[in-house]
Amino acid sequence: MRNPFLDFRSLPYEKKEIPLDRIVRAKQEIMDSILEGYLHLVEEEVKDLVWLVEHSHVVRTYSAAVNRIRELHYDQDDIEEFCAELDSAKKIPYMISGPAGIYLSALINHAPEDRIVLRPKDFDRTFHFMGYRLPESKTLILQGNVGDFVGAGLSGGSLVVEGSVGNWCGAGMMNGEILVTGYAGQKTGEWMRGGEIHVDGSIGSLGRSRFGGKIYQRGKLVIPQELDDQY
């Protein structure tokens, strides 16, 4: 066949690239990897769209998540954007809150930044397990209301929630600090082993099985001071 493009032979092929092209391309690659990691995690850990909240399950899911993100190079902005993707359901047909929150936590815990700010108030969906196993030297600030198991397994980090939290806040936390400016739900501090939870608003109920740590309400220490009869 004759070459129908001969007229353009002398045109130098030049693609004028501006930094925006590189930024968007790099970001897209990272997002694709993060998304892929999440979808694989869901495939492995979630059977028939059901994910049970059991300790062993949670631990296993977190390990799997960490494995998935280990080789990735991302930053806080990528994490924010991933939250937006989870919320919008355009690329993610279904969001299973538990694994999503654990995956997010894995991303947060291994991000290069020490201080991460996310805005759950911008999202329609509720994220659970935010701040799971947040390590020492990390600060996570959540602007807006979040779901259950916030700060579960906290491992020395500092978690600030500028809003309210659901149930099982600080469940099984080892060390570190949780500050909630709104209210907390039921079983706050369940299985807590150390660290501190500060709630400025009301607390639905305290966890009955606690092994250490302190809980403050409106600046006043309520645990280890027993006030079970009030709840």
Binding site: M1, R9, L11
Partner: protein, 449 residues
């Protein structure tokens, strides 16, 4: 290229245009090229005459469709009006091959010899068919071959016109009209409307009349009549005709100062315009247009009897609004007319603005729009007939798309060239049908759901 000769020839053609515009075909300018106003119908007719093209002129009765064509032919080809009138083919259902093309020499026929007496229509380089849509379809087919190649056959004889242009007029659809058959309409290079000039110019026409009498010459017309009726070989006759044309031209120049073009000048213009190079944007945009008018993601190409699927990805492009596939005559017409326009404007290259100016007129009669698209546009305010209006809108839309991504398109074509030359590169991807077509040319199987 001899720019000096180029310049004076160009001036002469512009003088012809100006003379007709001011004396013979009074009408408003309705298009602009680089700040210079033109009347589209007259300009396209001029380009048709220079180009050996074929033009379809539509319009309401009495608005100068035939007259404008006659005047252009008279001045560009140096043929007096009377001779042109005598060669015109009127469209009516009872037209016969004998009236259009030629008849047997009755005297010779009675002696058992077949000698063809060719009609003036076939002999003369200027051909005007009046109200072509009143011809039945079979007669339209008859003209097809002659119109397309200048090749006329009758009995066992044939003549081939060395130089010719065709003007056909058509009224809007009424009781007595047929449709112009698709193969014939596709052969027209351009379609224009001869508009009403407005009440003020119309008054002038009524009060003063137009000075067509200046383009008559009884003596020479008689000589034309004699020469065309001679029973000599076609080539010999045409040489004689050319001599009479020259005499008519000189007579006009001497008596009235009206400019005309000789055969040599017309040939010079054609070769000069052929030499004008085409800019890359012209090249790329024309490919861009052809892609939108022929592409179908599902069926490989557009076909009149195959409809678009709902939910096709390419709904933003013209392929989704038309029913037929554009023919290969479109790029030929577009290139010819754009080049001639560029020559007329004195430009050294043929560019995007020349193409944009002529494209609607080359497209208007070649596109079959979907009914629902016509329904949407029918009632919009406009100053052109619907077909030309929609063609102008289509060109405008495609141009806007091209302006946005012109450099990517050219890059894609450049990369494709390299790939064809053997370089190992990936073709540039894009949403526009042209990118898909480039990949097809490079041998890729492309199918998009």
């Amino acid at each position: 290229m001899n720019t000096e000769a180029n310049g004076s020839l160009r001036e002469k053609v512009r003088d012809i245009y100006r003379y007709i515009q001011e004396n013979l075909y009074l009408n408003r300018p309705d298009m602009e090229m680089r700040g210079e106003p033109f009347n589209a119908a007259l300009l396209m007719s001029l380009l048709t005459g220079l180009n050996q093209g074929k033009e379809l002129i539509i319009g309401e009765p009495g608005l100068g469709k035939t007259t404008s064509a006659e005047h252009i032919c008279a001045l560009l080809y140096r043929i007096p009006l009377g001779t042109i009138w005598g060669s015109e083919v009127p469209g009516h259902p009872e037209q016969t091959e004998e009236k259009i093309i030629g008849r047997p020499d009755l005297g010779k026929l009675n002696q058992g010899e077949e000698v063809v007496v060719w009609s003036h229509f076939t002999l003369l380089p200027v051909k005007i068919v009046d109200e072509i849509n009143r011809l039945p379809e079979t007669k339209q087919s008859m003209i097809l071959d002659g119109v397309d190649r200048g090749n006329w056959e009758y009995l066992n004889d044939a003549i081939i016109n060395r130089e010719y242009c065709l003007f056909a007029t058509a009224n809007y659809q009424d009781r007595g009209t047929n449709t112009i058959i698709a193969p014939l309409i596709d052969r027209f290079d351009v379609m224009v409307e001869s508009k009403h000039p407005g009440p003020n110019l119309a008054y002038l026409i009524g009060a003063e009349g137009t000075n067509g009498a200046a383009l008559r010459h009884e003596e020479l017309e008689a000589e034309f009549q004699r020469t065309l009726g001679e029973r000599t070989p076609y080539a010999v006759r045409m040489e004689r005709v050319e001599e009479i044309c020259d005499r008519f031209g000189k007579a006009l120049a001497k008596n009235t100062g009206i400019p005309t073009l000789s055969q040599e000048e017309r040939q010079t213009i054609r070769s000069q315009k052929e030499e004008l190079p085409l800019e890359l944007d012209f090249n790329a945009f024309l490919r861009f247009v052809l892609a939108e008018l022929s592409f179908c993601c599902r069926y490989g190409q557009k076909r009149s009897h195959e409809g678009c699927e709902e939910g096709c990805h390419f709904t933003e492009y013209l392929c989704n609004t038309i029913r037929n596939c554009v023919s290969n005559r479109l790029p030929i017409s577009a290139r010819n007319f754009a080049q001639t326009l560029a020559w007329l404007l004195g430009d050294e290259q043929v560019g995007l603005e020349h193409l944009k100016a002529v494209l609607p007129f080359t497209l208007a009669h070649r596109i079959q729009w979907k009914e629902e698209i016509v329904a949407q546009r029918e009632k919009e305010a406009r100053s052109d007939p619907l077909e030309i209006y929609m063609a102008k809108q289509a060109v405008r839309d495609m141009h806007r798309r091209y302006m946005e991504q012109g450099s990517q398109v050219k890059n894609a074509l450049a990369v494709a060239c390299r790939i064809m030359d053997g370089e190992s590169m990936e073709p540039i991807q894009g949403d526009h049908p042209l990118y898909w077509e480039i990949r097809k040319d490079l041998g890729e199987e492309v199918f998009k759901e």
